[in-house]
């Protein structure tokens, strides 16, 4: 024990994976150095991702509800948007959280080095600090947690601030009159929603036949319907063939699969076609770390690379590129380094799209079950039968469970509706604990809440849901 706890560990990258790893390592008694170019830990998630986008989405939702309040007998005048104050709200959120992480690392005596690291060999990093100083540091173990960055498409490269990636869009320099969002994944839809709520006319272009590729269609449908009302247009089976800077806007040629193409000028364009792992770390070739074809660093279940003294976690080792996956991997990697027999082996990693309504799922999806030809029973509970959903005037939601017909075990959970992101945690717990549908159905859920829909969908499986009459089939 004392052997491992004396280890000298470096964590390269201070995102949610990196700082979780660094903090746990410090808690286990290791001597830890955390290297990141930012002033404080946080990474993309806190500085340019999850956190600032959620602050803005919160505001977007308020705007939408104020608008909808007319139906409930409350009418507000048109909102005045003080962009400067909105930005500073968002920036204060980021500052508060990253500053908090800075304090937490100091309390844990983690040595935080603001700079960028390059490998000299498997155990030595050359760190170029932000102040220009250079330092060569040697460690027993190194964890790579360098994360990912927005993917770039070569045909969509223009040197103008009108052309944005997610980072640019979060800077919120102005509220453009029109915005083209390239890519109907979660980043494009979340940021598109923010701009639409602020008054921008948003057009979303998606290459595939549906929004949120990979998610079950029945979960996407209610979102799609609502976004159709919010957005100027949602163009599926469509790609952006070319873009041209015309000074006062960007002219984009949108090409549909059926051959039709149209040209339109947009004030701004947001390219959100996915993210690429940051595996091009200088000097990585001086180690035995192997990088796969898609740029992901190869690791085993202990998150150890092909170089025994180097581990890698988070976006840089593979999908899903999610902060909570990275944090969990970070903790597993540190425990493995400490000599514990552990592995990264979750049964469910939740995914949440923070649009309005939110879409969330975990474990097995219907899409996946079909692909694997796996027999599952799907029990759905439409929110139109939920008292709570009706009080919120948001009956479009739906909760569903995927259940193994033999064992009655809950294999997957999918939710669309307001607050789905908070609710999915129950699904994760059910799957990880190998709960049966009856376990969920027999657990008392508080009334009146949306969480009851989870319990009631389990009751649907047995054909005994209180609030819907749907006899069990077969």
């Amino acid at each position: 024990m004392s052997e491992t706890s004396n280890l000298n560990l470096a964590v390269v990258g201070g995102g949610p994976g990196g700082y979780a790893a660094a903090f746990l390592a410090a808690d286990l008694g290791m001597s830890v150095t955390l290297i990141d170019p930012e002033l404080n830990p946080g990474g993309v998630c806190l500085y340019r991702g999850c956190i600032p986008s959620k602050a803005l989405l919160h505001v977007a939702k308020l705007l939408e509800e104020a608008h909808q309040a007319k139906d409930w007998g409350i009418e507000f005048s048109a909102p005045k948007i003080d962009l400067k104050r909105l930005r500073s709200f968002k920036e204060n959120v980021v500052k508060k959280l990253t500053g908090g992480l800075g304090v937490l690392s100091k309390q844990r005596k983690v040595r935080y080095v603001q700079g960028r690291a390059a490998f000299e060999n498997s155990n030595t990093l050359s760190v170029t600090k932000t102040d220009g100083a250079q330092e060569s540091l040697t460690f027993d173990r190194i964890i790579i947690a360098t994360g990912s960055r927005p993917a770039v498409v070569s045909t969509l490269k223009l040197d103008t601030p009108r052309m944005m990636d997610s980072t640019g869009a979060l800077n919120l320099e102005d509220v453009p009159g029109t915005l083209l969002v390239v890519g109907g994944g979660y980043i494009g839809l979340e940021l598109g929603s923010v701009y639409a709520a602020l008054g921008t006319r948003v057009t979303v272009v998606e290459m595939l036949p549906g929004l949120l590729p990979g998610a079950d269609r029945d979960l996407v449908l209610p979102l799609h319907k609502r976004l159709e009302k919010m957005f100027e247009a949602i163009l599926l089976n469509t790609t952006v063939a070319s873009v041209k800077d015309e000074g006062n806007g960007i002219r984009a040629t949108l090409k549909a699969q059926d051959g039709n193409s149209q040209e339109k000028v947009f004030d701004r364009v947001l390219v959100s076609v996915g993210r690429k792992p940051n595996s091009e770390i200088p000097g990585l070739d001086k180690t035995r770390v192997q990088v796969g074809q898609r740029g992901f660093i190869q690791v085993n279940k202990q998150l150890q690379t092909d170089d025994p003294s180097i581990y890698a976690i988070g976006d840089v080792v593979g999908e899903p590129m999610l902060a909570h996956k990275a944090s969990h991997e970070g903790r597993v990697a540190v425990e493995a380094i400490a000599g514990h027999k552990v592995a990264f082996e979750p049964n469910a990693i939740p995914a949440v799209v923070f649009t309005d309504p939110e879409v969330a799922w975990c474990g097995l999806t219907e899409t996946q079950a079909q692909k694997e030809n796996r027999e599952v029973k799907v029990a759905k509970f439409p929110w139109a039968a939920s008292g709570r959903a009706i009080t919120l005037d948001r009956p479009e939601g739906m909760t569903k469970l995927l259940i193994d017909p033999q064992t009655e075990r809950v294999l997957g959970v999918g939710i669309v509706g307001v607050g789905a992101g908070e609710m999915i945690a129950e699904g994760v717990l059910a799957i990880e604990m190998a709960a049966l549908a009856s376990d969920v159905a027999l657990s008392i859920h508080p009334h009146p809440t949306l969480s009851e829909t989870v319990m009631e969908s389990a009751e649907v499986f047995y054909g005994t849901s209180t609030h819907i009459y749907r006899p069990k089939r077969g």
Binding site: G185, P213, G274, G292, P320, V342, A348, G363
Partner: protein, 579 residues
Amino acid sequence: MIEFKLPELGENIEQGDLVRLMVEPGAAVSAGQSVMELETDKAVVEVPSSVSGTVQEICVKEGDKIKVGQVIFTVDGAEAKGSGVPSQAAAPAPAPAPREKPAAPASKEVAAATSQAAASSAPSSTPGASEFKLPELGENISQGDLVRLMIAPGARVSEGQPIMELETDKAVVEVPSSVSGVVKELKVKEGEKIKVGQVIFTLEGGAAAAQPARPRSAPVEHVSGQHGARLAFQAAIRAEGKTEEQALPPDQPQQTVPSFSMPAQLGKVAGTEHRQPVPAAPHVRRLAREVGVDIYDVKGTGPGGRISEDAVKAHAKALLSAAATAAATPRAGHFAQPQLPDFAKWGKIERVSMRGVRRKTAEHLAEAWNTIPHVTQHDRADITELEQLRARFAPKAEEAGGKMTVTAIALKVCAAALKVFPQFNASIDIEKEEIVYKQYINIGVAADTDRGLLVPVIRDVEKKNIVELAVELSQLSKKAREKKLSPADMEGGTFTITNLGGIGGVGFTPIVNFPEVAILGLSRSRMEPEWLNGKFEPRLILPLSLSYDHRLIDGADAARFLRWISEAFEQPFLLSVQG
């Protein structure tokens, strides 16, 4: 009633001798409290209880050999945790054979099906086993002589507990029980020849004889079931290795236009195997990993096949007893020797069991001797000057709590030499045809204790100065004498020093501490006449003996290495220049 069983003690430690019991019936124990001292192959360890309550019955006594998983004592409390034999009647699904664990009924069938094809007494598949038959002992072993029975009618046996010693063609093995209960009748006597499949004893309450013969359904599957379990066990111990890396899904070819897509099933990501999620809670999966069990091999008996903590433990125990039986056979090779004469014919003798350190030393040295082509190179170092330095700096070491000994200095000298000659700090991986160069220098120092030879290891020797080394060496020697060395203290060596100078002698041929490739022996230094500057001068000479693995190291290199060491002893200045 709750049973406390010997928990896992560490890698490759399957059993130990009970040195001291710290509890007695009626005593209150709480989880975490030390309840006994156990001497394993490597060290004496205190074992803490994992249960709380009042001790009811103690199932072992001091001096016993205790295996991992064996019941130590019972405490009152909640109801007993089953016998480890899952009730098949309660299992919801008709369990398919391949995943069946080698519970008692299955192993009985194996025994009967393989070597006793004509066995008349067909096994019953009632969940509570009623009798115990001699299980398979290993390849080509069909019988053995019963040397010693360790149970008597009325005694309680539990699964995994050794119940007899059997002498086969190759070795004397301990046979663990695969059933639990109270012994009713013993069907064998000491001295008898016993065949695989023969009934050893019956259990109280079992309806052994009355069971009508039932047609055996596909006995072959049961055989593969047990083999499978053994393989799974082996796989589990090597679990972290290459095989899993190979299980990585290959990278998908990149699409021409990047498109964002959430992976459809978020439990399956790069780096994880493509297996269906197992019905076990995260802490149960983690426990399985800790005890080296593949959770997918464990049969869940909870709702929906859910696997409980107890199921994992029971499975681990079953694997261990199977592995113990399997392992007993190959180990015999080292002890294989011609029949001994009857020594008692010529006078009185005493037989003492070769236990703990002595047995381990015998096995380890026989293995090293069998594997390594040894050569020993001798040299002499003039340490007249060094001795003066040593005497001068001795108080400094003493101040720090250590003793400035020749061994402490030798540690520093060897570390420097190993840096210059890395092949002496290496190992041979014959299977992969590779030489493993270690980029750390951990030197073991052979220690003579009243329990035998122990080799505590000092880590990262090259990073420490002589005073630090002297202090650490003193601490480790103290630990060794006090039987406080943990297995971890004796692992990871890259080179070994053995100093017999304190006793005497002019030289010896140490055996290389496999898988290391060299060992340095120091003998007693003495004043000798040396021809210096045209006359004999009295000089203090330290005799050095270097044994090495001739597969990796050539004689000339060994001579150069030992010369370098001698010169470093003669001119300590060299250390700071070259070391």
